[in-house]
């Protein structure tokens, strides 16, 4: 079983976590064409490479981010969501 290092709880078995999918730019719902809004809702990118994903530590209901290599399944690093906001 894979280990995932939670920024708050440390390394834990991955079955304690729930994936919430890659971080995506959220289009402005009031200024987006129907077609683009539908794509936003129903099209999931699945390109090879490194993605930043939302993860939840279920027992503590803590959401954080993980950088993961989709080819090797290597988790490169995990970090608190505040870092994403600071970067933005």
């Amino acid at each position: 079983m894979k280990l995932l290092t939670c920024p708050m709880n440390g390394p834990r078995n991955i079955d304690e976590f729930q994936s919430f999918g890659p971080v995506r730019a959220r289009p402005d719902p009031n200024a987006t064409a129907d077609r683009d809004w539908s794509r936003h809702l129903f099209r999931a990118e699945n390109r090879k490479g490194i993605v930043v994903e939302w993860w939840r530590h279920v027992p503590s209901n803590y959401f954080f981010l993980a950088e993961r290599n989709l080819v090797s399944n290597e988790i490169i690093r995990t970090f608190d969501a505040s870092e994403l906001r600071d970067r933005a």
Binding site: R26, N30, R56, N73
Partner: protein, 952 residues
Amino acid sequence: MNRLPAPFGSRIDRSRPIRFSFEGKPFEGYGGDSIASALAASGQWVLSRSFKYHRPRGILSMTGADANALVQLPSEPNAAAERTPISEGLRVSAQNVNGSLERDRDAIMDRFGRFLPVGFYYRTFMGPRRDSWLKFWEPIIRRKAGLGVVDTKAPHRHFDKTHLHCDVLVVGAGPAGLSAAIAAADAGADVVLCDENPEVGGVLSYDRYDPAVLPGLSSRLEALPNLRLLTGTVCNGWYEDNWLALIQGNRLHRTRAREVILATGAIEQPAVFRNNDLPGIMLGGAAQRLIRHYGVRPGDSAVVLAAHDDGYRTALDLLDASVSVVELVDPRSAGVTSPLEAELRGKGVAIRKGATIEAAEGTAGNRHLARVRVGGSWIACDLLTVSIGSAPAWQLPCQAGGKVGYDAATQMMTITLPEGPVHLAGAVAGTDEIEDAIASGRRAASAALSRLGHAVADEPPAASPKVARPRYVQPIVADPKGRDFVDFDEDLQVKDLQNATKEGYREIELVKRFTTVGMGPSQGRHSALATARIVAEATGRTVGEIGITTARPPVGPETLGVLAGHHEALERRTALHARHVALNAAMKPVGAWWRPYYYGNASSAEAAVREEILAVREGVGLLDVSTLGKLEIRGPDAGEFLDRLYTMAHANQPVGRVRYCLMLNEMGSVIDDGVAYRMAEDQFYVTATTGAVARVYADMLFWNAEWRLRVDVLNLTGAFSGLNVTGPKARQVLQALESDIDFSRDAFSYLSGREGMVAGVPVRVMRIGFTGELSYELHCPSSLAPELWNAVMAAGRPHGLRPYGLEASRILRLEKGHILIGQDTDAITTPDELGFGWAVSKKKPFFVGKRSIEMRARLGQTRKLVGLQFPAGARNIPGESCLVLRNSAPAGQITSVGYSPSLERHIALAYVHVEDQAEGSLVTVKCRDGELVRAPVVAHAFFDPTNARQEI
């Protein structure tokens, strides 16, 4: 009896005779005997019939990996006879037998083999009709094929799981594993050493080596308190980040190791020639295991096939076990010598070089080996041991990311692991001699220790500079008469694999799927290397290019019990559970929760539900609503937060007011509802449906991980309990209780909330009405809920208060047309379809799902949830999920249906075509039996359509 005197038989206890039966015949063995060894000791060599041709089969490897030696126990199919210990009175029978093992009616299949070519199934069982496979062929094949029989009445057994953590896990306690574990423990690491056998030593426990080596290693084990030894433990899988499944009997050790050393050894490979599957033909290691572990003499007169020193040692062992060795056949050229040759010749054994076993013949019915052909002449014998080389046990290393290669110079299969926390030691890493294996174990330990940050005391010994001698490669040529088996499990012969390549299946994965090679219980242990060589030869490529098929967990079969473990169904009980039970409630599971369905005996269930409903409508009722989700949202942005999550306006909601809340997902579908009570400017108490609260709680924090609003969400679902006091007399009941809350109509209006004390219990009270009657929902800390329940019950007694259950609650809300999320909604339900336009703010710039419901409204609404009522006394009432038709095509379905005692007829909620939503429209519903019934649409609540009662 074929028993040898001590010291042969290290596993058996001759003072402990055990009686058991095989195929109905009595047998006797000793404590420590496996089924196969005890049978062999009594001369019973045939253990099973083969899968396809029903040929007699017996001991091949003594490792428990083959289908050959699978037997049926009373409550366990496919037990490995070579590993399963005998016990007093155990009833063992043979598998894959039609009639008896001795006289198998299907043995005739052996003669028809040429009509069963590889791929036969795919080609033959397709016709003549489309459903012929399911209707005709499959039942026949199921009867013919398959191995053991599952006993559906098998008694329950105890299984459990443990968690095991260590610095270094060493898999395999042979010379390499032992030395690795000792070296790692010596350095202070926390070490676990596991081995599937009952003793340590691996090859040292049965092969002919210096007898001082094993005690020299094993005596160290006990002196190391930081080394845990798990014998009889199979490592059945490597998973990511060094998580391994160790199975010890009925216990699964879920193991996390920082470093893993795989010392899984090598797997002896059988030779391929005509009739190579006869009982009496076994691997050299099997003969040695029989002799040393069980004190069983494997035959009277033996021929030894030896393309490796192992075979020479086997020959010497056979002599020690007073088996006469007729001849040792070494297929290598005369120039290749073994250091043991002289010793063997000295004991009068004839050694023939440059020859091999060309074919074997059996006794009547092929029940045992009778003679073998070498160089064109036949030699009579009842035992042939085969030692032509081995393959590294690749399963675990490959699961851990190892790549299998082939060294053309040495003709050996090789395994390379990526740099990381998994290391190989011993024969699996290609070592040949015992000293090399021991050194390799120490090297692996050093590598693991340095990764763990331990100071490695001395320089690890360098890899042996000695170049391994090239291995013998048996030329595999199809015998013109066949029966030269490559895969014993699946009865596959050389020509079957060659034919697969002729059919165009050139890749090993395709050859496997076409022929089923390697799919049997031994999972290619004895066939993968030969298959790779045959495919390489047939397609003009190298063995390295062909490779082997992907190895995945589990390494060997595992029982469902081990996977399930010690399982208790999770159940949740409210704080009032004992109260319900004391009141004779019929408790039923609703998801994980147990809830009262009604109060009373099953015989009077209908009457009880009816009385409970009438109590609420005419007097007062009490419902335990503790399973409701309860969330507290606190912080300066709490109003804004709810505004974004729910469709109604909450930021402007006055303190002390309660508002309905409706939650959508991003595609605009309804996913939850509840009420929000604003307790303070910066504090809301929000309910969610029982089934959705876990998800709502997660979603709230997920959204806020992005929004970063200044709020905090607390899940109080378990911490708080809820009691709903409902009915025209509800106010009188509450006013009879000691409280600082004014329950009068003017002071506490509909959709208000109050905090205070009731009967000495701190409560949050909301005036809401799921039943449509005057209702107060009292929420309090769960620890005090029983106290509050008692107080309400006592205060309600003069007013005829009656606790009511889920069934009455379901009907009460149905009479009001109130929806249940998940029951009356599905994945695409919009607020418009529910007629909930009133619950969707038109002013808010944003809430989750807003954009999508606007877009979906433009696409046009196709259905509407409405009430349907059926005539009183109607004979056929459709059930939930029955289709609503429009012009004979499905337009919707019934979502809830029930009998309303207040209206004395059946009522339902249903999706109908959007054009049928008007009051009085007649819609057609298809009942379960196919009958079409008509029912009029009711556009408002069935009961009290003006909602006057809840606001009194």
